[in-house]
Amino acid sequence: MSERTLMGGNIAIAEGAILAGCGAYFGYPITPQNDLLEHMSVRLPAMGRVFLQTESELAAINMVYGAAATGVRCMTSTSSPGFSLQQEGISYMAGAEVPCVVANIMRAGPGLGNIGGAQGDYMQCTRGGGHGDYYLITLAPASVQEMMDLTMLAFELADKYRNPTLVMADGFLGQSVESIVMREPVKSLPPKDWAIDGARGRDRRLINSFEMNPIDHPKRIRLLLEKYERMRLEEVRYEGMLLDDAEIVIVAYGSAARAAMTAMNRARKNNFKVGLLRPITVFPFPSQVLSDLAEKGSKFIVAEMSSGQMLEDVRISVGNQNEIKLVNTYGGVPLTPDMIFEAIDLMS
């Protein structure tokens, strides 16, 4: 029987990782995810697993690279400025096809910004983020339960595609405390016949992204592109609420989706036909379902805590025929149900 327990969002990521068999964590303190690192500093060594507080986020991501190359499930967590620093390392891992999980508990930018929650790293997370042609499956939890569940899924998808996988949440969610159902630990981890774990009785293996000659390098990239295409076909995840008769569809993820749910419920009580489309993967983005809704003539409200970054993906999916309204905050300010309800009221 699964027990219920009260847990913080960041802690749920840590515990989800442990359940998924995460054997090593490397990280550097940054608010609002310090509790994740601190939790790991106690839990992992007690289980005989590796924890290391690193000298920087650069060192952290490159340690993740080294650990993951040996076949160990491993992760780092950080927040926006630290995530920016990690882009080169993530690009190397994408290029070398090394799986890992990176949790980005977003805060407000640009620059130092502030430590309030935000969703301003959407573009960086969904467009690869570093240099070169690559994409990362990016999971966007909207509850503490999902912080745990999607972290476990992230490890699975990372191994399945041999690619770094992101858990992208905002600082408000990281600091939320909710009741969740504990999950069972993963029993067996997939074999990794590519890992560099010592060339005992076999040919040596190489994990790299360097391809000096311009004939082989495009071939390697083509294989990567095929992989990202498979992700687009097979890994789209979203939650649709009250979409069947919806005249207005709110598109929102993460904490913004929680505000959107409250606004939607209030709107329904007022007889507005409002539904919610909540992307769970923001890469790959649920474009098809949005374009289907657009065809039925829906109007759209995009609710997000950024200048309107996801709005671009919604526009690409929906096209020019339907009304799309952006309701947003930025700079570490939470989005409220009132703001979204007001937009519904105006649009109806």
Binding site: L58, N62, A67, E88, R200
Partner: protein
Amino acid sequence: MSNRGINDMDNAIFRRPDIMPDRATHFCPGCGHGITQRLIGEVLDDLRLRDKAICVGSIGCTVTSYLYYDVDGTEAPHGRAPAVATAIKRCHPDLHPFAIQGDGDLASIGMAEIVHAAARGENITIIFANNANYGMTGGQLAPTTLVGMYTSSTIAGRKEDRHGFPIRVSEMLATLDGPAYISRVSLHNPANVRKARKAIEIAFRAPLEGLGMGFVEVLSMCPINWKVEPVNAPQWIVDNMIPQYPLGEFKCKPEVEELKKAVRG
């Protein structure tokens, strides 16, 4: 399978180490990196490390160092080899990661990683190839470039007031308690190459015994960017580099002194 090929004659007295496949390197004529790679190859053979060693390539002219050893390998971003090696060792204490890092890689962009890996006492081997310039990118100013030295980005020579002073990495790292063994060697003549071989072996043995990082700084020829003939490059080290970078041991834990007795040469 033996890869000795044409060297494998009954009375050969010098042959390619077994661990090094029969392939040409990409180094310029007279480059020191080939010698360093060979010395490491000899040590990998002697210590029977084929099953344990992980070669971590770093960014610079040694980027493909992993191509020249028949061991598992990977490739770190510029400056980050000590971080990659740290994680490999922490997750698999039975493995032995090592890296050859250039002076731009280690002493400039990667200074934080080497200092902290050394301070933590990571049980890894780092061979630091100091050629006083950024070789791969065409010979620019490095943190180790000598005062007065011409580089492609200091065409009037390194000036103290504008470019600051060269960094003595071995001496700096020797102030830390973590490393087991730190020494500076040079490749300018056969006697010193033999000393380098010995130092590299100690730098492998010490972390294998769990004593902390083994670190060897190798003064290494880069004739193409020094603009000297390959045959004159060794003398250039003697005249220009050794006065700034004195040879010798800067750190040797007492337990490592014991280990040394097992090292030939």
